[in-house]
Amino acid sequence: MRESILETRSLSKAFGGLVALDKVDLAIEAGTISAIIGPNGAGKTTLFNVITGVYPVSDGEILFEGKPLKSAPAHKRASLGIARTFQNVLLFGNMTVLENIMTGQHPRSHYGFLGAALRLPRAHREEETISLNAMKYLNMVGLGTFAGQNSMSLPLGQQKLLTIARALATEPRLILLDEPGAGLNTLEKRELSDLIHRIRETGISVILVEHDMPLVMGIAEWIIVLDSGQKIAEGTAAQVQKDQRVISAYLGEETD
């Protein structure tokens, strides 16, 4: 087995008395596409939020590229190389399409207020790199022609692609996609799978949370199944589909 990009050890998260994640152990192989599936309320989004530092962990630890993340805040994790998208899109609606992606370059650029205020040469150079890179990521998701439009004028499918481009612009080594397929039509979903494959080819590991089973089974090399905060199964698509616990979690158990 290759090196793990992300590991969790006995990771737990409780909100008051509600246990959202219960001693979850994960090891995500670098350079792969993994999916986390499970019924509603299984703790999938909570897992993303804990990995990206939105919530502190209650117990256990998270290792990114072998190093513990401890209590690093969300913005720090983005600069370490963990990017994400959100279930509810969360674009910067007050900006153009291109500016949204330029904002994604934040952790890879450095000049601050002073450089900007005085228009230092360094600021100029960095701005050039930022807009070139932003254009590159915009073209990667196929939205190059919309660069100057307001981001909220795009239809939902393209807005979702835009948030993926914004996440890619942070130049991550791991990207977490929270329900990227939700609300997309069949054609858009096919384009999404293509895009996810292309992201993996650039060497970025992908983890997605997704409800669309054909999409998941089609692209994920490793599937982790959560139910009520616990990992109940993991494996390849074929293995998971046959797992008795997975079937009962989705369809309900027969009790005698």
Binding site: G93, M102, R166
Partner: protein, 327 residues
């Protein structure tokens, strides 16, 4: 091509504005307005800070007069009571006010929306009371007179004509600096925070730190404005830093367009002319007029009067261009 044409237009407008500004204080032109223009310049500096804070970053402040007053009193007390060089006093005032905003910003900016508004409102009122009560330093409610003029070498800014240029030099510097910041990496970070704090964090923006930074910058702008005010009036009292002053700055920012740097001049100009010329007969009822303006602007043109006008002109130009291309 279109961008080039548009670029040229902008330079033309700025050049015309600068020429107009330079001519104003001459007696044969609009010399009568010199004093009011000094106040407009000073107010614009505070308003620009508020635009950055409210319009771009989405953080409300109803206590901007506190920083304006701090700058004013630091300058007044240092330069008069302790005979510090007025320029040095101005610098110390800006640094001290900035430091104060930094210390108070970290806890206060964790609040959002109405709570932040209440906290900044409280800050404004507390500072206003302190200006009046710490009478051994500030001269109390009666104020303090005899503050020296600013001077460079032997050149003393002892007439309104001279101070007009001084104030507008500072004002335009603040406008240009703000314009550059808005169009930069930091400017995008600020707008991102306004758009979605969660998404901003997810792309590596330290939301808490950027909020404090812009709060400090807006406080420094206000402090510089306060210093210029006392060296213009040579007198300081708590009155210009009361709650109504903070409200007026919000009105200025709203009229100019919260997310518009150059609109600040327009907002400050309109509001100043209203309060210093047109509403004098209203007495204390002028508050009602400001309230009405705020409500009307927020309902019918939330992007601001200035931005709306710009939009209308743009539409008119487009129609004109279309008609031109048809023939």
């Amino acid at each position: 091509m279109l961008a080039m044409v548009k670029g040229k237009w902008v330079y033309l407008v700025i050049a015309a504005l600068l020429a107009f500004l330079i001519l104003i204080p001459f007696d044969w032109f609009l010399g009568h307005y010199t004093t009011i223009m000094i106040f407009i310049g000073i107010s614009t500096m505070v308003t620009v800070g508020l635009c950055l804070l409210m319009g771009y970053t989405g953080q409300v402040s109803l206590g901007q007069a506190a920083f304006y007053g701090l700058g004013a009193y630091f300058s007044a007390v240092l330069s008069k009571t302790y005979s510090v060089n007025p320029w040095l006093a101005m610098l110390i005032a800006a640094i001290a006010t900035g430091a104060f905003a930094y210390v108070i910003g970290y806890p206060i900016l964790r609040l959002r929306g109405n709570y932040l508004a209440m906290a900044t409102l409280g800050l404004g009122i507390i500072m206003w009371i302190l200006f009046g009560q710490l009478s051994q330093f500030t001269g109390g409610p009666d104020g303090m007179a005899g503050i020296p003029y600013l001077s460079i070498g032997g050149f003393i800014f002892d007439t309104s004509f001279k101070r007009y240029f001084l104030v507008w030099f500072f004002c335009l510097a603040v406008l240009f600096i703000s314009q550059n910041i808005v169009r930069s990496r930091s400017g995008r970070a600020l707008r991102a925070i306004h758009g979605s704090e969660a998404a901003a964090e997810s792309v590596g923006i330290n939301v808490a730190r950027f909020k404090v930074k812009i709060f400090v910058l807006s406080a420094v702008y206000a402090s510089l404005a306060g210093s210029l005010l006392v060296h213009h009036l040579r007198f300081v009292s708590p009155q210009p830093f009361d709650f109504l002053a903070s409200v007026k700055f919000v009105v200025m920012a709203v009229i100019g367009g919260l997310a518009s740097i150059w609109g600040a001049i327009f907002g400050a100009g309109t509001t100043r002319i209203l309060s210093d010329e047109l509403l004098l007969g209203f007495g204390e009822w002028d508050v009602v007029v400001y309230g009405a303006i705020l409500i009307i602007v927020m309902i019918f043109m939330p992007e601001g009067l200035f931005v709306k006008l710009k939009e209308l002109i743009g539409r008119w130009r487009l129609r004109y261009a279309e008609r031109g291309s048809e023939t």
